[in-house]
Amino acid sequence: MKRKKSLGDWIFDIVNTLIMLIIVFVTLYPFINSLAISLNDADDTIRGGITFYPRVFTWRNYELIFQNKLVYGAYIISIGRTIIGIITGLLFTAALAFGMAHSNLKGRRFYTILCIIPMYFGGGLIPYYFLIRALGLMNSFWVYIVPSLVGIWNMLLMRTYFLGIPIALEESARIDGANYFTVFFKIILPVSVPILATIALFIGVGQWNSWFDAYIFITDQSLKPIQSVLLSIISEAQFAQRMAQAASGQAGPIDAGRVGKGMTINVRSLTMATMMVTVLPIVMVYPFLQRYFIKGVMIGSLKG
């Protein structure tokens, strides 16, 4: 039943659209700008002033990336850890969130406190390192997956969502004799698609962007994710230019620090290119997830 649009509606829509357009421009422009810089010759980029399009077009920055043999293996590793990380992470986190959403869960208070404390207190890197070593996860692909099976913050978000599901759904199933596993897998998860998609996105992006775990725990080059490889490509390019003459003129310890911190920079174009290489896959996948953010997923289950 469509209501006729009033004048107020029109004004609202126009203003809303304007706001949206501004936001789209402000968020899209830096991206277009980065794309332009990534397609621009590195030396020319130093002169500044590039906006929507490259001034001196070149594929060189992308060549530098894709000529690196490690890049392809790293992509596979990153895709692998993202997909596996999403599936396993969703499973463990959702199961925990499901339980925590039940007020009749014995020990719920205890569990809650248990979950909150680690969000604030941690032992630091070295004890964590020893743990990973003790668990045999050093230099193994599974160090990307196992430690992140449960994201406490994600769990809390999921729990909030589950709390919003009408209890009638669960109760009717339990009256019919279903146990909690059945309720979880057959009833709750199917109607939780929006939150599952959201958390999948969060986990996925986290996995895709991560490099610190690889940095500390992985020495095998073939297990490095794409971020690690991209970082090393950039630092290699920076360094190769840096060493040429500066080093031989070292005056001593005072100046030694200068050789490193914040000296050239011819790599801005390259950095933009690596950013594109990282973000474009995500941007391409996201619309696929977007359709899960469509309204009305729950209706069918209620009415059915």
Binding site: M1, R3, D13, N16, T17, I19, M20, I23, V24, L28, P30, G48, F92, A95, L96, G99, A101, H102, S103, N104, L105, K106, L114, I116, I117, P118, F121, G122, G124, I126, P127, L131, L135, P147, L149, I152, L156, L157, T160, Y161, L163, G164, I165, P166, Y180, F181, F184, I195, G262, T271, M275, V279, I282, V283, Y286, Q290, F293, G296, I299, L302
Partner: protein, 323 residues
């Protein structure tokens, strides 16, 4: 599950004591089984390494086993509280966090509700997809973009303002200390708006459309629907995020501030931009005092968790307790 957590769905005849507990526990073993793997995981990966916290009370030296260094008690905390910079650093942290809470917290909510009001599907999807792009730009790159955009030398903003006649000399956005708080909020808003909206959009999609139809029949206008249905339905998510943002007050965005102040080398911004994290980085980590850094971190965590519990208490008064 719907509604107040404190309500028990079924009343049960309770047996007393530990055997009673065990009995109840086993009755819902399938539920417990869903929960236990996650709990065990947390215990292993979050609790076992926690002994490292002892570092805050010791003097850690390179090569020590964490927790086994020389014991110094509260020495580091004393240093922290008596450091002349402490007051300034604390002030900056709190102000920046509060400003972000004031502006960057409500914005995604509003944005999500407005997106929901877009009727053209294509436009809606486009806005959603494009708005989160800045989240993927690292602060390092974003910083360069910001410096260019707000630059004194023909930066886009200054050029536009001058062309429009609003100002006649370019504004030194990153060169005046007092502007920093505003710049920190604006840049953070730009970067995080789209991404933070996602959770609210997903919460909105689970709203039953029938509610809107029913409200229409009752004669509700557009704004009434937005408030009573859209907003109220995502309120639990909002409260959750609000409470945890309060519980995060002493953590100002380290990456962002380091980048915007060029690793704290911009002297004009120091007075307003130095937060606990940057101070600790400079003095604790770069100054080769890891235990000091650890102690400062512990101090932050303790205050933060107290803020969290306080916020939770306040929320519980209105029936929206989270913990």
């Amino acid at each position: 599950m719907n509604g107040n957590i404190a309500i028990q769905p079924t009343a049960v005849r309770k047996k007393g004591g530990i055997s009673g507990f065990l009995h109840e526990f086993l009755k819902q073993f399938d539920l417990q089984l869903l929960v236990i793997p996650g709990i065990i995981h947390i215990i292993i990966f979050s609790y076992i390494p926690m002994y490292g916290i002892l570092m805050a009370f010791q003097e850690f030296r390179l090569g020590d086993f964490p927790g086994m260094s020389e014991w110094v008690g509260f020495k580091h905390f004393n240093y922290l509280f008596t450091d002349p910079n402490f007051g300034l650093v604390l002030r900056n942290t709190i102000v920046i966090s509060l400003l972000k809470l004031l502006f960057c917290f409500p914005a995604p909510i509003l944005f999500a509700i407005l997106i929901n009001e877009i009727t053209n599907m294509r436009f809606k999807k486009t806005v959603q997809t494009v708005s989160y792009l800045p989240h993927f730009i690292s602060w390092v790159v974003a910083g360069t973009l910001m410096f260019d955009f707000f630059s004194v030398d023909n930066g886009a903003i200054n050029s536009a303002l001058i062309a429009l006649g609003i100002i006649d000399r370019p504004i030194h956005f990153f060169g005046v200390g007092e502007y920093f708080w505003g710049m920190a909020v604006i840049t953070d808003l730009w970067k995080s708006l789209g991404w933070n909206t996602i959770i609210f959009i997903s919460a909105i999609t689970s709203i039953d459309p029938d509610l809107y139809e029913a409200a229409e029949i009752d004669g509700a206008g557009r704004y009434a629907k937005m408030w009573h249905i859209t907003f109220k339905s995502i309120l639990p998510t909002i409260i959750l995020l609000l409470i945890f943002n309060v519980g995060n007050l002493l953590n100002a965005n380290f990456d962002q501030i380091m980048v915007l102040t060029k690793q704290m080398t911009n002297p004009k911004l120091r007075e307003f931009a130095d937060v606990i994290d940057t101070y600790v980085y400079r003095v604790g980590i770069s100054g080769n005092r890891p235990s000091y850094a650890s102690a400062a971190g512990l101090f932050k965590s303790v205050i933060n968790i107290m803020l969290l519990l306080a916020a939770n208490k306040v929320a519980s008064k209105s029936g929206h307790e989270v913990l």
